[in-house]
Symmetry: C2
Subunit: 305 residues, 2 copies
Amino acid sequence: MSLLVVGSVAYDGIETPFGKTDRILGGSATYISLASSYFAKKVNLVGVVGNDFADEDIELLKSREIDLEGLQIDNSGKTFFWKGKYHFDLNNRDTLDTQLNVFENFDPIIPESYKGAKYVALGNIEPSLQGKVLQQVNNPDFVVMDTMNLWIDITLDALKETLKGVDLLVINDSEARELADEPNLIKAADKVRAMGTKMLIIKKGEHGALLFTGEEIFSAPAYPVVDIFDPTGAGDSFLGGLLGWLDYTDDLSTTNLRKAVIFGSVMASFCVEKFGPERLKSLTEKEIYDRYREFRRLSQIPEVD
Amino acid sequence: MSLLVVGSVAYDGIETPFGKTDRILGGSATYISLASSYFAKKVNLVGVVGNDFADEDIELLKSREIDLEGLQIDNSGKTFFWKGKYHFDLNNRDTLDTQLNVFENFDPIIPESYKGAKYVALGNIEPSLQGKVLQQVNNPDFVVMDTMNLWIDITLDALKETLKGVDLLVINDSEARELADEPNLIKAADKVRAMGTKMLIIKKGEHGALLFTGEEIFSAPAYPVVDIFDPTGAGDSFLGGLLGWLDYTDDLSTTNLRKAVIFGSVMASFCVEKFGPERLKSLTEKEIYDRYREFRRLSQIPEVD
């Protein structure tokens, strides 16, 4: 199988209460690809970088066997740059700087060899660009999409249009409430699913995640991370782990979707332990499976007679 | 076994987005007693009511086989009255009126026949009064305590003193963060446990609850209630279901504590379905166990090889 990942590739400047970095590899496609590379046999990345993109970052992606045929190098400018500062509680952040650079004119062109992808991850980019990706691929089995409040605010129609071709939308709780205009998350989930996506995951940060398949609801716990070093990329790592597992197992049963949600949570829990994608560079299979089992223990409800 | 419940018995005026009631039976001891009565063999209630307390409410409590020898009837005034209005999202409420009435001079006197209680529930009252209860009982096996932001703000020293005699403190997430002065809930739990209570439960409303036993963390899901009619008493019902189960099974293993947390969650999920304690009047064993199994299904994580 092969997994297609489309999204941003960026440099981030990050400040958290625990440290600071002026420039570290980032972007939704980067985190999704890295996280999914621990499961998927082949990860094909589509994105754009500028003339300042470092060889070592190319090498890092290649070292995780991520295919870069679809990574456009636009020499007319620099790579997308984002700078942000997290508050003391790490749940909120301020954007200090956004330089779109070459990302402003990003046109996701899917190479021929990628078009047969069975699993597709639409990282958080403008919804009409996500839609353009879906027009180019040959009837994938499973499309997962991320989005953000900005697109709900300014491009709601395009978002709803793209949603019709999506199997699973992954958003956070505030986005779900805003998209559905409904404070109760369970009701909000019904309203969002009625917009077109078959399934929905609502990420709740330190409170875990909810999966709505239509048949059932699955409540996944959050890993009790004492020292969250840097939350950047956690949501994308979740999506990458989830879709990577689905691609690896090629099984869309509700039981396997539950496993996928936990593998997504596992990858997110690793991601936040260090700056940027640092922790996603060299995980072992044992670390990943051990943490999966920790998630199981954490939320195991004993049987009663 | 017998279970001792000390707390407020009150009348509430409640307004939610779905309805309004001018006067309905309420109070922490009421909800704890009703919820625990489905499990505990004998529930002994200590509280105070005034000259307006209705015979039918006495009958209701008696119908659930709650012993009222410890319920003081103070004819000098009226029963504690609280009036509140819930916001649209039901997570916040405004207190519109508080009339302490006879509750202002409440002195929890534990009848001789109650003093041998193995399980004790200290409902949310002033911490020094909770401490006075502990001075009167004969070395109980397990003491559970509730409290609120008000007492953290104005009687912190008394609260910490009482906490030393408590096995399990049950508070919500904002209270835990305030008590520990720490935004990360996992770290906050460590700091609160260092104050004296052996175990801690942090209730997170629509996000479930966390149990910290010292040996392990258990993450319990919330029941996906679509129509929360009235959240009043949910926390007390949680405590009642939890302690009722422990009294019934007389088993303080971590496995059984997990079950107790879920039975607490079950009773809370029923409580919010109707106004006040209405739904807790006539549950069946089948309803309770069926919902327990729904909680299990909701958060079941499949094994991986």
